[in-house]
């Protein structure tokens, strides 16, 4: 892993030279070292060198107060809070839908195809529109972004939970029947604990999707804050270093969120003696 990362970094530096070279005002005779040092220190390069991106992240995070729009952590928090709120919506909606689909046959037949169809619709395409429209009604800020993130993230949760709630085999259900257990007991003692093993893989995908939703919701809406807004302004004004820094920050955010899920999973695992 480390060596591959190293190779990729070297490739990145190498690639930056031919990509950035056409924009440099250097005469034909310039040597490779001059070319390289110029290509790796441009103000608005086509491909910024890794150290430039790191430096941008470093100064942005360390030398500006957390509440300042010049601090990337501020934007990351704006996006993350929308994504987390969306994840909350997705959890409630996804689990409720799954329970409905598992317990009500009519819903299984009529709703499930639409749940699947809802994901073939490029939801992200309507994301900015939803934000604009809700904005005209005076609903701005976190809620529209969270709604989009939630719409995107509920699907893997629903699918995982439907599979999980149906996972008990006939033997385990018969066992509950011999106890003449009430449906509520079958749910709390068997179906729910069993479904947790299926919830976590879905949750990992949902976390990533809710971040995507939050970022895209910030795109062409005139949003002032958030990683999506940083991407867009960076793109408009050709601030490639800023753009890449925002992109790296989005990736870091994703990793942090996934670590959060992994920790929750580990806590559940611990309570179950190490197996889901």
């Amino acid at each position: 892993m480390v060596s591959v990362l190293g190779i990729l970094t070297v490739l990145w530096y190498a690639l930056a030279i031919p990509l950035n070279a056409p924009r440099l005002d250097l005469d034909e005779t310039a040597g490779l070292s001059t070319l390289a040092s110029a290509a790796w220190s441009m103000d608005r390069p086509v491909l910024p060198a890794p150290h430039q991106v790191v430096a941008e992240l470093w100064t942005s995070v360390l030398f500006h107060p957390l509440t300042s729009p010049r601090n990337l952590l501020y934007h990351a928090w704006v996006t993350l809070s929308a994504a987390l709120a969306g994840l909350g919506i997705a959890l409630v909606l996804g689990i409720a839908l799954a329970v409905g689909i598992v317990y009500v046959r009519t819903l299984d037949r009529s709703l499930m195809p639409w749940v699947i169809a809802s994901q073939t619709v490029p939801v992200l395409a309507i994301a900015p529109m939803v934000v604009v429209v809700l904005g005209t009604l005076g609903i701005t800020g976190l809620l529209p972004k969270a709604a989009i993130a939630g719409y995107l993230a509920f699907f893997p949760i629903t699918v995982g939970m439907v599979t999980g709630l149906r996972a008990p085999d006939p033997l385990q259900l018969d066992l509950m029947r011999t106890y003449s257990a009430a449906p509520s007991a079958v749910f709390t003692k068997l179906r729910w604990p069993m479904s947790l093993a299926f919830l976590f893989p879905g949750l990992r995908v949902a976390v990533a999707l809710s971040l995507v939703g939050a970022i895209v919701a910030e795109l062409p809406t005139g949003a002032q804050a958030g990683l999506g807004a940083r991407l867009l302004t960076g793109s408009y004004y050709g601030q490639t270093i800023q753009l890449w820094a925002a992109l790296v920050m989005a990736a870091l955010l994703s990793i942090v969120a996934l670590l959060g899920v992994a920790m929750a999973e580990r806590a559940v695992l611990h309570a179950r003696g190490g197996r889901l």
Binding site: M1, W114, I116, P122, V132, A208, I215, L243, A251
Partner: protein, 308 residues
Amino acid sequence: MRQIRGSAVFAAVLALASAGIARASLPGAPAFALLASLVALPLLVLALARFARRDTLAARLASPALFGALLLWLWEMLVLGLHIPFVLLPPPSAIAAAFVTHLGTLATDFRQTYLHAVIAGYALGCGAGFAVALAVDRSPFLRRGLLPLGNLASVMPIVGVAPIMVMWFGFDWPSKAAVVVVMTFFPMLVNTTAGLAATGAMERDLMHCYAAGYWPTLLKLRLPASMPFVFTALKLNSTLALIGAVVAEFFGTPILGMGFRISTEAARMNMDIVWATITVAALAGSLSFGAIALIERAATFWHPAFRR
């Protein structure tokens, strides 16, 4: 007897629903619309429950269709009945009208976004992902290095590379196709690698007994066994590809394309055109997903999920 009753209920529901919509669209008949919905709603739900208990193909298709009709009808009723502003949510009838009026524009946008960017990017991204997966599978070095990266990348907000691709490849469709390539590459890589590793120890021992080399084992055992995983990625990617292409258009495009249409018409508050474009996207997404699912069914008929 039960079937006759079922279809009678169904017919009654359809009649009432269409009457309800017709009258609700006309001004001055809210009482009738309300009455119609009061009667038709429970009947529609009853019909749904009836279909859900049957196992015929017709019933399996009818219940989601009926549910969809119910949703559309509720949408129309609510928008008209509650006087929801047009910008917030136009009624389905207005969207259908816009669809017909702007068919030419919609077709050009579709060609630009779907036929060019999506299909080219999808084929390249999936193909590259598959090829790299074979290489990763062959080389332990790549597996140790590239696979964790691939796993990480497949849960990253990749769509963020869209502005970079637009800068590199220009405003026209190749930059959108590039975004689609990046977005579809990693899911295909991760799934195919998992699929190639999905054979059982006993099945591999069998090939070992036959002294089968790398290629026969790959062709006879591991590739067929990986097909369910490959199709999972193909289905997932069909949705991702459309998303990637549309979002990439938000960052700059010539004056056509579905993403461009959505963002500009939304800014002009022409919500019926926006929704018509979304309908096109939804249809394209659903149909390509369905087509891949059909191919999957034919190619992996042996998989437990499809056995009957």
